[in-house]
């Protein structure tokens, strides 16, 4: 395995093409360099599909930073999908260094408000009124 601090052939910038898979190692090396150069936390799961697609599952609070680092669109409300069991999946996708990239976070049922808010950089502030009803006091706050 090559030392990441040394210049190797694989260290050269990958060609920005989607016609040729970069290869597993090239993507893994790119990921290693990305984490070396940033303060990104470890993904929950890292998957490389067939040498031309990187998928990272990250904590909701880390999603925006990962999306930014990979050059993907910032996650927003439109990127929040809800499955039949109530889980939220917030996912953004795009191209990164010549390969397809996806970053997503999963939010379990019940935690949706706060964690989805963290994932998309907005907080939903809810107060409980005297009669027990939930009242939005600030639907969106940076």
């Amino acid at each position: 395995m090559s030392d990441l601090t040394a210049t190797t052939a694989a260290d050269q910038a990958p060609e920005a093409t989607t016609n040729r898979p970069l290869g597993l190692d090239a993507i893994a090396l790119g990921l290693a360099r990305l984490q070396r150069d940033t303060a990104l936390s470890d993904p929950v799961t890292t998957t490389i599909y067939g040498g031309d697609e990187l998928v990272v599952c990250v904590a909701p609070e880390d999603l925006r930073a990962w999306a930014h680092a990979l050059g993907l669109p910032a996650p927003g409300y439109a990127d929040v999908l809800v499955d039949d069991d109530g889980w939220r999946r917030i996912e953004v996708a795009g191209d990164w260094d010549g390969c397809r990239a996806r970053a997503y976070a999963l939010v379990p049922p019940g935690d949706a408000g706060v964690l989805v808010g963290r994932a998309i950089g907005r907080y939903r502030v809810v107060e409980v009124a005297a009669d027990g009803a939930q009242v939005d006091v600030a639907a969106v706050r940076p």
Binding site: D25, L29, Q35, D42
Partner: protein, 133 residues
């Protein structure tokens, strides 16, 4: 560099080397490499014939010094998984930062409904560790 990233690199590097040597019978585009804090999975997928996928799974497992793959049947979907795996602190040597000794390792391919296992794989089935079902 994070521990996970290091290990992902080691694994990807290993697979690329196997591909360059022609040891893997399928295109690396048919491989899925996944890693999290506790486990690592290499799945041989794609459209390659079953015997090529089996050969690739065996090659990767051997390169990782994992036990020989055996067939396991999933009770959930009744599909058959050709799986090699090990558990933490077993079998796979820890060679520094890239070691796998504390990872649950798995190499697998899955039989589709239209496929049959090659005869030599069927022979291995009798040695499987009881299967998952």
């Amino acid at each position: 560099m994070s521990r996970l990233t290091t290990r992902m690199r080691v694994l990807a590097n290993l697979i690329d080397e196997l591909d360059l040597r022609g040891a893997i019978a399928v295109d690396t585009a048919d491989l899925l490499v996944s890693i999290d804090a506790n486990s690592c999975t290499v799945q041989v997928a794609g459209f390659a014939p079953i015997w090529d996928r089996v050969a690739a799974a065996r090659t990767v497992a051997a390169a990782l010094e994992m036990p020989a793959p055996a067939i396991h049947t999933s009770a959930a979907d009744d599909s058959q998984h050709f799986t090699s795996r090990t558990v933490p602190d077993r079998t796979v040597p820890d060679s520094g930062a890239g070691g796998w000794s504390d990872f649950y390792m798995r190499v697998t391919t899955i039989l589709s409904l239209s496929e049959s296992w090659p005869a030599d794989v069927a022979d291995v089935a009798g040695d499987a560790e009881g299967g998952e079902s």
